[in-house]
Symmetry: C2
Subunit: 340 residues, 2 copies
């Protein structure tokens, strides 16, 4: 079968590999219906994360169950399913508290690779959520977004406690940041400030519910947010980049007693304890427990109440994966869908 | 009047100074009934915080109103009052959200100094809470604890979301850590693990509600907490020291999805963003909004449901303040009360 493999920074190839087989009795094998390239795939692509060996890529997926391990109980062959980028048992204490991305038995799907025709999904009963009905192409695209970027943006908005009466600031205008805006709007936020300099992303931000756009960054961006919030800062801030600048911008933009949800995978971030102490904000971040939100997100998508799939502004057959990586690296595309 | 002045590390003197006067129409002047030495006073005493000039000391106080500015409405001369170490208007958006320690018009009482016969209290209506009735000596001691260490420990336990069904770990066995145990117990925590190596402090921890004692520190301490919690870590962890080691110990001891309340004033703490990301814990800390909790704490004290004043294990007349500082520095005393 075909699979995307990264050999070195900037060197992405589509290769023939052995198809996956059931390893554990709790596994499922799915035929991947749609997959995509993640902003986090760009870290190794840009040489900012070390590649020790050629690496299978991809951790987002919608697929159809083809084979089930002997202990899988809740799924049937032929089911259309969505899962998150972390396989989780959904039964341990951590999962039950809603933090499935840190399940006691977690398996990172990135270590398996879903930019491929088929994928093995560990802990299938805990990981996969069945999609009811027969999605339209637009719904299918949105279900794929739910697998990571929507679920991650949603978690960020929840972690930042976006809700009625709250002003939410969003740092980062990639797919996750944009979908955090959609989430904040659905969660009832009063005002949503998108920090973005790109006209097309600003347009998408407004479509998803942003009420204000701030183009300034760093200290100037923080000053502008304070100006827009009576000098206090935002109640809720989403950080969806992962750099030192974006993290300090997010914390600085938040009022004392406010909440920061940070989901950009931290690269080189160092937080000064003294500054954090006197910021007096709540900080919650990490790999998003997308599984917590999947049933609700699938329902919102299948009833056409949200359309997160519009973040995909380029669709390519998997053979052209290399061009997809280039397009995202050069910011010609926000999010690239790969068809199979 | 008499006031404690720090001239240099290790050099604390009691001097005659000018008594305070009303500066703003929202001020009150109180005659200090009881004051004390704070763990945070030891940072400059030990040379770990720079002293630019001789500094008036103290930010904890119980007192009697002697004089009121023209705009103070809710207090009367003769009222017995408690306030926190931050004067706050209690009306701005930040105060109303319960973060009075970061009030838009905050004044740090440490910049005024309450280890003295009298003190000026800015924003008196917002800052001071009247004590009903006539406290016993034990209650008076406890009211003084409410001014900072109890209120700070209480905030730490609330920030760590201590409550029913939760296992709470407390890093730090100073007065704040010990009173965070008392708070966790009152908030209904199921299990409270005190991290302490000192037999007398362990005894006080148990008196306040600790169910387990862990003597190990650092990675060993973290391993022990995990062992005691089914491998998961505590739901709620209080950090009440402020060093790199204690902060990492607190974060490491907390399960994914858990909460860390940190109230030790950070000295030299640097948090790695990547580690924090993958810890996936909520972090909330800072100068405690003691004012939020004062009415409830005063009620608990005046009805003898809590006795936080037992953390004072040494009481000295203010003339012997230097000996009080020495006793705390050498850990011969947990918390020193100064009588006037």
């Amino acid at each position: 079968m075909r699979a995307v493999v990264m050999h070195a920074p900037g060197d992405v190839r589509v290769e023939e590999v052995e198809p996956p087989t059931i390893v554990e009795p709790t596994d499922a094998i799915i035929r991947v219906t749609a997959t995509c390239i993640c902003g986090s795939d760009l870290w190794p692509y840009r040489g900012l994360e070390r590649l020790r060996r050629p690496m299978r890529m991809g951790h987002e997926y919608v697929g159809i169950v083809e084979e089930l391990g002997a202990e899988v109980r809740d799924l049937r062959v032929g089911d259309l399913v969505v899962g998150s980028f972390v396989a989780s048992d959904n039964t341990c204490e951590i999962c039950r508290a809603g933090f499935q991305s840190r399940c006691a038995h977690q398996v990172m799907m990135g270590s398996i690779g879903t930019q491929s025709d088929r994928a093995r999904i560990p802990l299938a009963d805990g990981t996969l959520v069945k999609v009811p009905g027969d999605p339209t192409p637009e719904q299918l695209r949105s279900l794929l977004a739910a697998s990571d970027v929507l679920g991650t943006g949603w978690f960020a908005a929840v972690a930042a406690q976006a809700g009625p009466g709250r002003t939410v600031a969003v740092v980062g205008d990639g797919a996750v940041g944009l979908l955090a805006i959609l989430a904040a709007e659905r969660l009832g936020a009063e005002r949503i400030i998108a920090m973005s300099r790109h006209p097309d992303r600003q347009a998408l931000a407004r479509r998803f519910g942003a009420t204000d756009i701030v183009e300034e960054r760093g200290d100037e961006g923080v000053a502008r947010i304070r100006e827009l919030t009576g000098g206090y800062g935002a109640h809720s801030t989403v950080e969806a980049v992962g750099t030192q600048e974006s993290m300090l911008q997010a914390i600085g933009a938040t009022r004392p007693g406010g909440h920061v949800g940070f989901v950009g995978v931290s690269h080189g971030v160092e937080l000064d304890g003294h500054d954090l102490f006197f910021a007096t904000v709540s900080l919650l971040g990490g790999p998003a427990p997308v599984r917590r939100f999947l049933p609700e997100l699938i329902d919102l998508i299948m009833t056409d109440r949200i359309d997160p799939g519009v973040v995909f502004d380029l669709a390519l057959p998997i053979e052209q994966a290399a061009e997809g990586y280039r397009a995202m690296d050069e910011r010609r595309a926000t999010k690239v869908l790969l068809t199979l």
